[in-house]
Amino acid sequence: MNFKLHVWRQRDAQDKGRMVKYAVREIGAEVSFLEMLDLLNEELTEAGEEPIAFDHDCREGICGACSLVIDGVAHGPGRGVTTCQLMMRNFRDGADIFVEPWRGRAFPIVKDLVVDRSAFDRIIEAGGYVSCNTGSAPDANVTPIAKQDADLAMDAAQCIGCGACAAACKNSSAMLFVAAKVGHLHLLPQGRVENQTRVGNMVKAMDAQGFGACTNQQECEAVCPKEISVNFIAQLNRNYVRALLDV
């Protein structure tokens, strides 16, 4: 297969950046999207040009490092997959493919397709955990947890923190990311103890990091590689209102 790539190149945070065209040829259908970029980078390197910088690590959809907007969609055309799980068989031979970094004020560009997502770390630091020191835990089976609750908590806990939700949102809202963490911990007795302070603090941190508000467009769920449901956003809103009334 052959493709015409249009890739965002930007030297550093200060550079203005531009789209650059590259032709890639004779790519097998079983090649992954990032492997295609690897092949292109190898060609660029041997031609003495700087390869395209992009974040990636595990290449199996779990670390959350890869982060490309492909043809205008965060993580590209697949459903429930990350960029690194995308195979070239999903594209038409001869297609023009547009590759851009995550969008959003809270995700400033570092270089080419690499963005700074530390805003997400700061949101978690504001309360995305259970405050329990090592060694103070009781026996694990002391508190039974209904299987349904544990399963639902796991649905939310699967979030890989890639940022696609915020990158896809026209308001750059990080609501699905925050809702997933709050929802996961709220569903478990261990996490419920500090639910109120957690909700307030995490939402405050989200605003402070420059993420926008949610207007229920549900783009986030559509691009989430773990298909985390927007129902968790509804739950977050309920939790938030309760936190406001009580605190």
Binding site: E46, E60, A137
Partner: protein
Amino acid sequence: MNLDAHIPAGALETKWQRYKSTLPLVSPANKRRFKIIVVGSGLAGSSAAATLAELGYAVECFCFQDSPRRAHSIAAQGGINAARNYQGDGDSVFRLFYDTVKGGDFRAREANVYRLAEISGAIIDQCVAQGVPFAREYGGMLANRSFGGAQVSRTFYARGQTGQQLLLGAYGALARQIALGKVTMHARHEMLDLIVVAGRARGIVVRDLVSGTLRSCCADAVVLATGGYANVFFLSTNAMGCNVTATYRAHKRGAGFANPCFTQIHPTCIPVSGEHQAKLTLMSESLRNDGRVWVPTKKGDRRAPHEIPEAERDYYLERRYPAFGNLSPRDIASRAALQVCNDGYGVGRSGMGVYLDFAEAMQRLGQDVIEQRYGNLFSMYEEITGEDPYRTPMRIFPAAHYTMGGLWVDYNLMSNLDGLFVIGEANFSDHGANRLGASALMQGLADGYFVLPYTIGQYLAAAPVLDKSAAEKTAAQTQQECQQSIAALLNIKGKRSVDYFHRRLGKIMWDNCGMARSAASLQQALQAIPQLQEEFQRDLRVPGGGASLNQSLEKAGRVADFLDFAQLMCRDALAREESCGGHFRTEYQTAEGEAQRNDAEFTHVSVWQHRAAGEPQLHREPLQFSHVALAQRSYK
């Protein structure tokens, strides 16, 4: 080289408890005056950094990823072992200890392994308290499943994403300490060297991967939690960034490297599809709970799997190892797969694959149960191969996955360099020559949550106060050396990319020091690698400069270390003239093709000392077994 393991006296069962209660303490007021560096933020690094900060130490934590949450522990799928006997199936601390020692083919320290088994339960408690959503039964109790090398169900899991959930728990604990100002986190920073002052680890040199700036960070103790080196094979299940640089550079500064030839080849991975491939994908071992492994009984049988009748299938694991069957340990299952493929029975286009078949389990349990247990793994398989494993058996083949070898540490997890602690996969301590499934997560968290936080106090309580000016002087010197080696890589200005060399190194290692090794193949590798290294130094091209984000430069530094390290691995494999666990020397096998240990000569840890000129020197730490009888490992 001093290889005293400092194993406390007393009965095996009470050693750790007694030792803990006699360790010297650091008073709370003094703890904050001690600065501890933790390199790496996986299960071991995050849990250690968080716990040390909770205790009151001043912690600086470094990782090369853009967030500590992305360390490669996140990709562990199947589960974590703990001797809780919640299933009432006869499990106990002793049994977990015994399975681990036996699984490791009697090449691990009894005292360390016993401690690990003893701590395992507390890890589950801790993780549940953090809100890790482990799988549960309808009554609300924790669920368990079985893993290779065990006849009890002691593996706790969170779907096929156990590593992710445990790491997010530890990352949460770390995030809390960052918010409290007790941990300073440095993401996108890579350790380039260890600062050693008068035989003591006193800090590290790091490169800020965004700005390219080098800087030194001095401390009272350094903890390496930098993972394993399976990427020496280029193709492995490790993340692309996993590397040996931190441990290898510490080794060059004097830390002994133990058993580098002990590498684990995981039996259930998706087979290689072509030259372009950058990494291999693991299919969790948990699949072997319900999947049956088979190949056709006829050589070169190219029929589709459903066209091959039952009578013409060879369920070779069930046939050869009836007691453990499809749940045989990883080294045995991998070797058996290689053997049937080499004999011409392999399936798939390349003939390098075997079937993992769920048809029988789906009939027995129904598709919905299989979907619940393995849904995410099945969809991952389908995305990559384009085949639906609910309808046709998976094709799998072994791939490099984990490394049991690592920096040598004593019972306190301290290397032979004072003040340098090594935890998790980066050390060599607990898995001997083969790690059992679901034991990596257990060891990483045991080290980080429950061992290091005690033992490091003992060192700090007695260590001389950090001489800042001496440390800074050495730091400046070390930093300068790092700067020079970066400049050297940039100045080669050859024609070939880093990946070109890495791929070739990987092939040399896989062919000659992989699942089966021989003196001849190892000697061949030891000739080929220096030639490749010479070519690397002549023909490498690293575009761009050193003063900005430069992913080619990062890789170049790592591959330069892999080229050096690969030779150490081969040397170690050559020196160990026996087969044990993941180390299979074709010259040493039983008539049935099983690994043949040589206990009389090799019941020891091989520890290598770096020498500036000449070959590395081999030292030995003898292993003593008083609670487990050394026996031929049998899973029949």
